[in-house]
């Protein structure tokens, strides 16, 4: 411990011996750390939002379907569990939320236009806690129950169909016998979503109304479950798997929406690559600083060796110096990142590029997310790589012969 104190004191003093160089290097590390964390927060915010939006559209962290549904999401692949049985199995199982729904492809027709959509038959009350639709922000009204005879469309879809609240539209799909199943609906509400694509995709009706129209009894297309964290769905998955038999397939959201799942993995990898790229730029400065710092004090290193310091202590001293430099730089960078991200957590308007962003599922307002895990990851990666980068100059310093070093001019 005493030796560590000696080496730390020496390292700290030598760090400030050439304070200009140290300040320049600290600034570079701080800006690098800030850039890493800021970019991570932006990316994390964007990905979280994309995934949260995606999950709330899918929705849910875990779903059960007929085993063939994911390959063929048609009316023929249903879960034959009625409301009473669903309640008996899942009502008191402790999920944050769960809902069953009918979800089949359909065609919607107004008096002017037709579009292909996904027909969602829902129970509004069960769906409320994890729907992508803000019921209170609907133009007109939202569905009042599973037997509601109205239809709620996305504002963008209504615009495309040139219809509005109060007008009638016709939904057309197939029943299990491959016969046409259709019904006229009055548009009772228009919902708004973060992305126009979502507003165009869904036509939402009452679950029982949809079941009657499609002549499927009380069968549903899927049952969705929500847990505490979309990144850790295993507890929910395991619980659902315990409550169902082999007649249905239990899927995690990453399996239901493979695009979002792979995006999550890709973004996590991207963040690590980003951290490493920034570090590589920093490492040149770091190694150069250490090499110069060692070169400047070869005589003093020789003296310390002559006085009885072991080479390992010289190695330790240089490494501590490097860790101090990185530690202080990272601390400043962390604080800087916190100070710049916190005021932006209310959202950054990127509507000027929103069209482009929507192509890969991002919304027009970006909410930076300062995740402590990302901060720790950035700091740990930089410290570990910094340690490795410092080994070479530190090793060289410890290899000096005292008599040669002490007489160096």
């Amino acid at each position: 411990m005493q030796l560590f104190v000696v080496l730390s004191r020496l390292a700290w003093r030598y760090l400030w011996r050439n304070h200009r160089r140290t300040i320049v290097m600290l600034s570079a590390i701080a800006v690098g750390a800030w850039a890493m964390i800021f970019m991570n927060a932006l990316t994390r915010g964007m990905v979280d939002q994309m995934i949260a939006d995606g999950i709330s559209v899918v929705p849910g962290h875990v779903q059960i379907h007929d085993p063939a549904y994911l390959d063929d999401p048609s009316i023929n692949n249903l879960v034959a569990l009625g409301d009473a049985e669903l309640d008996a199995r899942f009502k008191d199982a402790g999920f944050v939320a769960w809902a069953s729904r009918v979800r089949v492809p359909a065609v919607i027709t107004s008096e002017r236009e037709s579009r292909g959509v996904t027909l969602l038959g829902i129970d509004p009350e069960a769906e409320r806690s994890f729907s992508f639709i803000d019921y209170e922000a609907v133009d007109g009204r939202f569905l009042e129950g599973p037997d509601d005879k109205g239809i709620v469309l996305g504002a963008k879809l209504a615009n495309t169909l040139e219809t509005r609240v109060g007008k009638r539209v016709v939904l057309m799909s197939q029943d299990p016998e491959n016969e046409i199943a259709d019904r006229g609906f009055r548009v009772v509400g228009l919902y708004h979503a973060e992305m126009e694509a979502t507003e165009e995709a869904y036509a939402v009706v009452g679950k029982r109304t949809a079941q009657k129209m499609l002549r499927i009894g009380d069968a549903v297309s899927e049952v969705a479950f929500v847990g505490d964290d979309y990144r850790d769905v295993e507890p929910v998955y395991n619980k659902v798997a315990e409550l169902v038999d082999a007649s249905v397939k239990v899927s995690r959201w990453t399996e239901v929406d493979t695009y979002l799942g792979s995006m999550l993995g890709m973004m996590d990898g991207f963040l690590l690559i980003w951290v490493i790229v920034i570090f590589l730029a920093l490492s040149f400065g770091l190694v150069n600083t250490l090499v110069m710092a060692v070169f400047e004090r070869i005589r003093e290193i020789g003296l310390m060796l002559a006085l009885g310091m072991k080479p390992a202590m010289i190695l330790g001293q240089i490494l501590i110096e490097s860790m101090m430099l990185l530690g202080v730089g990272l601390l400043i960078g962390d604080l800087l990142a916190w100070a710049t991200i916190k005021p932006l957590e209310g959202g950054i308007d990127i509507s000027i590029v929103a069209k482009g962003m929507e192509m890969f599922g991002a919304a027009s307002v970006l909410y930076p997310n300062l995740d402590i895990d990302d901060v720790i990851l950035s700091n740990v990666v930089v410290m570990i790589l910094g340690f490795l980068a410092s080994l070479s100059p530190a090793w060289r310093a410890s290899r000096y012969e005292p008599v040669e070093a002490i007489t160096k001019v």
């Binding site: 005493q2 030796l3 020496l10 003093e300 310091m309 012969e401 002490i406």
Partner: protein, 231 residues
């Protein structure tokens, strides 16, 4: 009497340009514990190389070096560092203080590496700095002290942990006569009261009179080795 330093047939050759310089040429000598030896030679005579070999700072090309009964010329770097830390105090010609440490921290440096507790360290460092006439300058850094003051700090560092052997290379080269005298009296006192062995390489005639044994070197060889009554 126990042998503090034994050198047997030491040879060391340096290459300078296209010339081989024999810094040590089959040099053999025994120095007993508690001796006060003055090494004298013209510049390039081999004094510093000899001191470096004894201190384990430089490895001879051939021959044997024994310190306190241990052969050191075959030791590893780590073992040599331990030996220097525990047994040898160095005073170099240039002051060779650590510039980022204060006078007191420089004096405590060796003790810190040795693991001496803080209270004992502080007590010893204050005492030795007072002894070498630097009371009140404990918190000054080397750059804030004169050459003589820096050399006294280096001496204080060398002797503060009471090593068995002190190797001094031109310790008075940058000191005025009064400070030189005080320094030599301090060395003499340590030699007489603590039985510390001193080997001092010097040109300084004033230093020679304090030595009990004068060893004259020329071209890496001992040409004269006499005992004398010290001043």
């Amino acid at each position: 009497m126990m042998t503090a330093v034994r050198c047997i047939d030491l040879c060391k050759t340096y290459r300078q340009g296209d010339q081989d310089i024999k810094a040590l040429d089959h040099l053999s000598v025994d120095i007993e514990k508690g001796e006060f030896v003055c090494l004298m030679s013209p510049s390039g005579g081999g004094k510093t190389t000899f001191l470096n070999a004894i201190g384990g700072l430089d490895i001879p090309d051939s021959g044997e070096v024994w310190i306190a009964g241990e052969r050191i010329d075959q030791m590893s770097k780590g073992e040599l560092a331990d030996l220097r830390l525990a047994n040898i105090g160095f005073v170099f010609q240039a002051y060779n203080l650590i510039p980022v440490l204060t006078a007191q921290e420089n004096v405590e440096f060796v003790m810190q590496v040795q693991g001496v507790p803080a209270a004992e360290r502080h007590e010893k460092s204050y005492a030795i700095l007072e002894e070498v006439g630097l009371k009140g300058l404990e918190s000054r850094r080397p750059a804030e002290m004169s050459g003589g003051q820096q050399q006294r700090v280096a001496v204080a560092r060398a002797i503060v942990s009471r090593p068995e052997l002190v190797l001094a290379d031109e310790p008075t080269a940058n000191l005025d006569s009064k400070t030189s005298q005080e320094l030599m009296e301090l060395f003499t006192e340590l030699n007489e009261h603590h039985n510390t062995t001193f080997i001092i390489a010097t040109h300084d005639q004033r230093v020679q009179k304090y030595a009990k044994r004068l060893v004259r070197m020329l071209d890496g060889r001992i040409v004269d080795d006499v005992e004398q009554h010290a001043a």
